[in-house]
Amino acid sequence: MASITLNNLGKVYPGGTRAVGDVNIDIADGEFIVLVGPSGCGKSTLLRMVAGLENITDGEVRIGERVVNQVEPADRDIAMVFQNYALYPHMSVRQNLAYGLKNRRTPKAEIDRRVNEAAEILQIGQFLDRKPRALSGGQRQRVAMGRAIVREPAAFLFDEPLSNLDAKLRVAMRLEIKELQKRLRTTSLYVTHDQLEAMTLADRLVVLNGGKVEQIGTPLEVYRRPASAFVAGFIGSPAMNLIDARAVPHLPGTAHAGTIGIRPEDLTVTPDGPILMDVLAVEELGAQRLVHGQTGGEKLTITLPSDSELADTLRLGFDRASLHLFHRETGVRID
């Protein structure tokens, strides 16, 4: 168990491309942190720098009290779960789980105890003598997790571990990972591009964009008060409506904003609402429906109950407090 601290962490590739810049994150002992962002935002690079698989060009990584910039991956006391699971195909599940312990000269009895314990936690006991290729995607995922937990490391690093699974299994495994982490209380750093996964798993979210941290906060903080237009558009599904303020000049209290944000669920149909939307398309989700349209040339989406009345044009209203205002050039929140 340990805390992890990233101090002004940066990475410049030999070609001069900056992948990550000035990242500062304090991860408390036992905390579950999710790094989330679009592809190419540097989140995997950041994780690999913590793991020791990428060298660090600026700043420092601390695991516990120790600066580990120059420490080999094996000696950082971390375990990693890879996107493609990275199970050793020529070894049985048991050998896969035991490999890290064997390399560390753990006594045989201790290895057996830990492997059996992990197998029981993850319910993979009956597969221990199979090869990974004889397992399904979900079972491989469990073995990959098992390989991490037998080591009893100071921290777990997850690199998009669920993205190779189908949608249903992903939701189930997500919950299992969450429960497992709560039970083991091991500090975890988890990378994903899926904002829903990020919201549901994280104690705190780190939203990354272009190698920089946009916002750090609990899922609800980030959802309720996104620090920038980027975060506002990235977190939440369906995405927040971001409208150029010039398209709706008549909205009160928005004169100084460049971009106005409002979540689809915060818009309501009211006869005297200030926004007139032309309906373009409707998506039925069962419990509710998504209505897509436009106002003043700006795209707009709203969520309505599935029994709501539809028309070619809708008048929309909102609560003033649900508006998010962002700066035109920098995208930073200004209210």
């Binding site: 793991a51 020791g52 698989l53 080999e72 991956p73 094996a74 971390i78 375990a79 990693m80 890879f82 996107q83 493609n84 990275a86 050793y88 195909p89 020529h90 490999y99 890290g100 390399n103 560390r104 390989r147 080591r151």
Partner: protein, 292 residues
């Protein structure tokens, strides 16, 4: 996989014809001739031939020279295969570890494959020539008196080195491709699992390379037994005192120089059977240990 359906029955045969013709003219027909000749004995002028049954084969078994050739071939094939595969794996691992100029080194290392066996033989013959060669001079400095014309060991070393050198490029290409097919994440996972570079290689990379290694083992043994004729002919001509007279060279020498067609044909049939047997054995037993 996309399957092409031919409506015309003739077209597929037509497309296969060139390859079939080459296989027939250069392999099946001569092989058939060799089998036929192995049961015949020709007179000294090649005018008459008579059927002698298995006499040619029986004569081979009684010939100490042929038994020696079998032994020499075994030693030669093992050494060539081990040396060329070992070195090429080493080179492939070195190139795989490089970040830059991988392609340049790969290209350079592939060149020897374009050299004809006889030319390679001549090249090494010059390098190791006791009178004018570079290597004997260097070896002389460190106190070794190199002479492959009189020393059996030196002669064997020369033909092994020359033959292995030519095959390194081929093996190297396959090993490089094989190494690149091993996912980087496996090696990273092993690194996190506490395995150092050497352990990672033997625990992870090498087992995953086994399909490539197995394929190359078969190819190299066949190469050492069949394709090294040119190297031997250009360097030692089987000498000194039969020390490098491998089976394929003896086939040529007894047949075309010694004009003993019957015996030569019998030898080539034995060689053919030997390679077929070895390949079957490898597929039967060694392949079971291969991890695909």
């Amino acid at each position: 996989m996309k399957r092409t359906i031919f409506n015309n029955q003739l077209l597929p045969w037509l497309l296969l014809a060139p390859q079939l013709a080459i296989t027939f003219i250069f392999f099946l027909w001569p092989a058939g001739q060799a089998i036929k000749q192995s049961f015949l004995r020709e007179d000294a002028f090649g005018i008459n031939s008579s059927f002698v049954g298995l006499a040619n084969f029986r004569a081979l078994l009684d010939s100490p020279e042929y038994m020696n050739s079998l032994q020499v071939t075994a030693v030669f094939a093992v050494l060539v295969t081990a040396l060329s595969m070992g070195l090429s794996l080493l080179l492939a691992v070195a190139v795989d570890r490089m970040i830059r100029s991988t392609r340049l080194y790969t290209t350079l290392l592939v060149w020897p494959y374009a050299v004809a066996p006889a030319v390679a033989g001549i090249l090494w013959w010059f390098i190791f020539n006791p009178t004018i060669g570079v290597m004997p001079y260097v070896l002389n400095v460190i106190g070794y008196d190199w002479n492959h014309i009189s020393s059996k060991t030196d002669a064997m070393i020369l033909v092994v080195v020359a033959s292995a050198w030519k095959q390194i490029s081929y093996n190297f290409l396959f090993f490089v491709a094989g190494l690149q097919a091993v996912p980087a994440s496996l090696r990273e996972a092993a690194a996190i699992d506490g395995a150092g570079p050497v352990r990672r290689f033997f625990d992870i990379t090498f087992p995953l390379l086994s399909p490539t290694t197995f394929f190359l083992l078969v190819v190299n043994i066949v190469y050492a037994m069949f394709d090294t004729f040119g190297v031997i002919d250009a360097t030692t001509e089987g000498g000194p005192a039969q020390a490098t007279n491998i089976m394929v060279y003896k086939v040529y020498f007894d047949g075309f120089v010694g004009q003993n067609i019957g015996s030569s044909a019998a030898q080539s049939v034995v060689l053919m059977l030997l390679v077929v047997t070895l390949t079957v054995i490898q597929f039967r037993w060694v392949e079971k240990k291969v991890e695909y």
